[in-house]
Symmetry: D4
Subunit: 226 residues, 8 copies
């Protein structure tokens, strides 16, 4: 086994990841010191020619932009990206959110999938307390390669979608809500206990993780594994 990493002391960059998994290492920006962040972005950009950072603050955007002016920032999803303009987006991923307050997480999922080459369609504010808003999109949903369902509060959306489609539903609980929602745990439990088939779950507010898995599935749907 070749080393496959670069030791910066404070970080061991997984330079072999793209080869192993097909996607380069992503940077979880939240809580990273400025000097670390700057160095990590630079080395990954040199290595891979593109970088995706998640949970970045506006201040961190400035830190990175000072050394890599081509970096872009989306304040809603908090994604920090450097990539070639002409990246082609294919496939058909749908990101569906239950409420307006779930949009930041939904956008993180959508933006991640787009970074990894997916074509994404967004259906926002289609929660189960007004089902007709979702059912109006039934045929759209049925055509997807994969559906990402983002919901806080009671988190029932993935169960309903799971009953309508034939492809995997990636459920993302959000911390949206109050009282006995326990910062998203109630929605997480709802999704883990879903009576619908085809639903699997990622961590609370982990839009990135859902976008990553959707990208894996879309890649399989396009060309099979190998």
């Amino acid at each position: 086994m070749d080393s496959g990493f670069e030791d910066l002391g404070f970080a061991r960059l997984d330079t072999g990841r793209k080869e192993r998994t097909g996607f380069p290492e992503t940077v979880f920006c939240q809580g990273k010191e400025d000097s670390f962040l700057r160095e990590i972005f630079k080395r990954l950009y040199e290595k891979n020619g593109e970088v995706l950072g998640t949970r970045a603050s506006a201040a961190q955007f400035e830190v990175v932009k000072a050394v890599l002016p081509e970096v872009r920032y989306d304040a809603v999803s908090r994604l920090l990206t450097i990539q070639s303009e002409e990246k082609k987006q294919t496939g058909n991923i749908i990101v569906c959110s239950a409420g307006t307050a779930d949009i930041p997480v939904a956008q993180e999922a959508a933006g991640t999938a787009e970074f990894f080459g997916c074509r994404v369609r967004r259906i926002f504010d289609a929660g189960v307390s007004g089902l007709h808003r979702l059912l109006a999109e039934e045929s759209v949903l049925k055509a997807a390669d994969c559906v990402i369902a983002v919901a806080g509060m009671e988190g029932a959306l993935p169960s309903v979608i799971g009953g309508l489609v034939s492809v995997p539903v990636i459920a993302v609980p959000t911390s949206v809500g109050y009282g006995a929602n326990f910062g998203g745990v109630a929605a997480l439990l709802t999704m883990i206990n879903s009576c619908a088939n085809g639903v699997s779950v990622v961590n609370i507010d982990n839009g990135y993780g859902a976008g990553y898995i959707a990208s894996q599935i879309k890649r399989l749907a396009e060309r099979g594994n190998g």
Copy 2:
């Protein structure tokens, strides 16, 4: 305040309850000793001319039948009842369950409401993973005085119903499920965090409580308060 109770030593029968609340005291049979149960049924029957017992075992049915031969037992709902044959059932309560395994709790709710004079319609196995099974009953649901929604697993049913009707939805989480359902807590949290209006919640497997509240609401719907 007149005493309003009878002290049996092991129990203080709330003989004033019917006057205060409109319904006589109900007996929670589970765990009661045979001698206590027998005595309580006898005194309440003498006082009120009818008795409702919940969570009774088949053995407890035999204990009570030995002294009160007119008692009846329903093995699914585990209700033990003595009542006059001709009790009139009015109003329109719907009891809706998500799965087949939720039927015992749903029947406890339905049987309780019937004991308290309600006409009840049952819609069983109409969970959200196959929404068309519920939507087929939309007009029936809209005509109810009150809907009792019984669900285990992820417990999403009340949210969906809450979005369809204009009357209160009494949500009953059940302990049906496995793994991270925590004996019904997952369903309870789903219901408490419901994004739909008009949903309030009773304890896990508390079909009785839901049937009682539905009866109160139906009574108000029929004749107002007073």
Copy 3:
């Protein structure tokens, strides 16, 4: 099924809700971006001629007032309302709170019920550690169509009221307290486990939800369902 919603991109306004449920869609203001909030209020006002917003900040009040000068704000309940002056209030809803610190939630419940056309009577600071303060109102309580019982700390108030009245008690746990109250979870559990009949529960601090259900019940008490 007609579409029944308006897609703003960031929100799918449930314009069919008033027809389905009898009450128009309410706006949960907390965390909504200013531009979203402004647009949602405008469209709902155009559609329904009245709007109720909950959990609004003083700053959000200013945002909405800039485009809809007729909006009003109550700083205690945090309700934001636009409605015709002459709305008639009927029925008899009682909102009872255990402590002074529970007043904001109690006022949210009361204000919501008033918005939906209820006449409301308030009984504040009548917790169980000085029972005489509650028992002094026993005859008032007995005359209600529905009682909303708001309590933090140990949350015992609904059980006591449930034993006194013949109508539904909507229990609202609040996050008032400290230590092992777990932000209201202790009160929620107390209420869910209530030994009194007729008690159902909404989420912690969800005064709005309780006011909504009380309005449904009052409507049924006045004219039956239909």
Copy 4:
């Protein structure tokens, strides 16, 4: 410090406890092997002339009776006792239970206090859903040295009593209930969060502990500390 204990290998009997605390060591029988139990009872009886065992099964009663025929067993409280007949009972401890199902724990508390020389008055089935059953005893409660309040379900009884009396209330949550009572945790939290003054709490179903503390308080009330 003299050794103050006897090492049996499997147990270090705290023979100095009576001197330190005024009461001899009690035996928690549950789960003890027969041979251990027999030996422990014998040695404590030799040392102290009396023994109290808690949570004993009927089978354990037989085990001890085989070597100590004077032992007595109460099947409800599960107390196993050897004591001189003429033990004088003084003071005024009240044991109050919320429901009939709480009686075993309440009897453990009462029996323990009696073993330690207290006069005990029992008020059973006086829960808060029918307050008049408790208020009828208000003057009796006010005369106590200490009140033990035993309750399962939502556990509201100690708060109500705490508001009525001037002496300490020892609250004992019981595991009676179902669903979200979590084996007594809901009642425990209610009691720990009590808004009434003078309420302190022992473990779920720990009638023994409450009876012990009541005995300490009664002893102080009779002769002060010393």
Copy 5:
């Protein structure tokens, strides 16, 4: 919308599911009454020509066999199946378990995927405390369409696999363990918090759910969505 279900009273069979989702309705046998189970199997067999039942007991096997002699039972996975002999298995799903005690859940996953037409390879007892047992299969893992990782105790296996492969990893926590594993919750949390990309999670012991999703992914990998 055509009805798409058959109402048996106790169950609303989702006869439209195969059309909507590509796979027929599965029967969760656990806790179903014999008469219900028999009827449900018969109707689904008539409708779909094959049936899959999960969590079946040996006694339930006998119940179904009495009316449908072609049914088969696997005592380890507890799957009850009726299917045509010649079902072709294609694709490449790997089911990997951490310990020997996780085998029943792993077999449920494997058997489900096989029922839905997948070719499955099993790698059992390859937990992280002896990594070489897993790393020996690295090239096998890299060739999969999807990996199902089944683990109890601390549940670290999916994270390690997620770092090695380029396809989705479906993580199945099991209830295997003791003490602070909380019946599988510890493993569930480990998996939900996985630092590896591509890992999504189903409920504790839900081998069926993982096998279902793997089958969806394999189907997409073979022929794309449509």
Copy 6:
């Protein structure tokens, strides 16, 4: 029953409490609005000639001082008091804390007991990791009427003291600690599960509650109940 309270609208002052319980109503200041606080202090001072407020901020001290210049404030315990100078302190209450960080809670307990007429001795920073610091005070502890044991972190202090003394130990868990202390819940559980006799528990950081109970016990020790 005479009314026994004064209705201020926002509060129902329990003016009958001193008669019922021997101590006047205490004011929980935290979160009270300035106008409410000022009014409550004034009315209680007029009624009782003394007032105790807990959890007061320095700003609240100023608010009250503006209308009642005789009020005093202790910044560590956060107690706000108005009382006659010559209040006599009798009895022997010991307040023992495990660590330096527990001092604010310990002082709240001590100050409360002093307000209610107790003589208090403080033993601070005597936690179980250096037992000799506690054992040096063994004879002092044995002479107490009641011991208040205040501890955060693992909260083991009350168990050790409970084994040394013959009087009740009031255990106060504090929120001091980090990580898996869960804001004091770990210490609370330790104390509730204490293997020592004579230990009862109040809420996390509830020094006031412990001081109140100690005062009740000291009063009983001095003059019996009556």
Copy 7:
């Protein structure tokens, strides 16, 4: 890396473990099927010349004895062992338990350490409610290489020992207790939050794990690492 394991299909025996870690693989017997257990014991015995099995039932002992007559079983610790008679025991490990009911776990720890070559001294029933029973052994404790402290209920023993000795204390929470002990979680939290230095914690009832670590430490104390 050489394979270092043997694939039995249902198990991948970690035959390289003794070389990597110095101790051969142990068998967790609980829940293993008879045929698996028999095969695993045989192969490990052939490979290592000795085997340790934990959590074995008496029936499993018979299963193994049928093929390996030299196996021995201790019914208290539930250890199943095959080893050469003349294994030398050196070093000085102390296993200390808080109560009599903790003995099975304490014996599992002691027996494990003995299997791995340690000399073990047992001090049982020395819990903190009678500290003199522990302090009597202070000089014995100070002479240990490592102390294993086993406790249920509130689990305070390790903190007290940690304050007395200069060597590591391995804390083992047990599931002994009732009520809010949560099957040992309360004791686990106490130990994790210990204010004493030198205390680390293993899983509830994991006597084996503690014995293993003590053996590692004793080995280091004897000959250093290498």
Copy 8:
């Protein structure tokens, strides 16, 4: 027993600790008042000639430096130290962290062990999602006296290391992560449930505790106990 402590009123300095445990008392700085902190540092420095403070803020550093100019501060680990320059560092402790965000806790562990005389090697950012980064150090790990494994998120690192080495692994969960990591509880549970032998656990973020235990073990490895 000689007193062994110095009573400062607000603190009882454990001056006998160095004699009992081999290491002097450490100061937990967080939350200590300036005047207390200054006094404690001065007295401990006079007594022991060196002091270690943990969780110190930069402001606290200034407070101590004003009276003890020789004090040093490390802003990452937040350690405050006074020691002689020539302290010799021996042995071989490895501190391994899973991610970059875990470095502060890892440095607290490393700095503590160095203060207590250990030679420490750091391996940072070697988490299980890129195993090759850890396996590259396998021979280094095998040579350690003790390994400290620091990890947040799912906390799987200690299990993997435990399978590779023959010495104790001290596992330190960190609060790094989000969503259902519960501030480090998920990682703590992972580590407590580790299937690897030789792993024991300290509190979340308790780098100090791990460094202390590693120092105890290294001392034993060097010279045995005594």
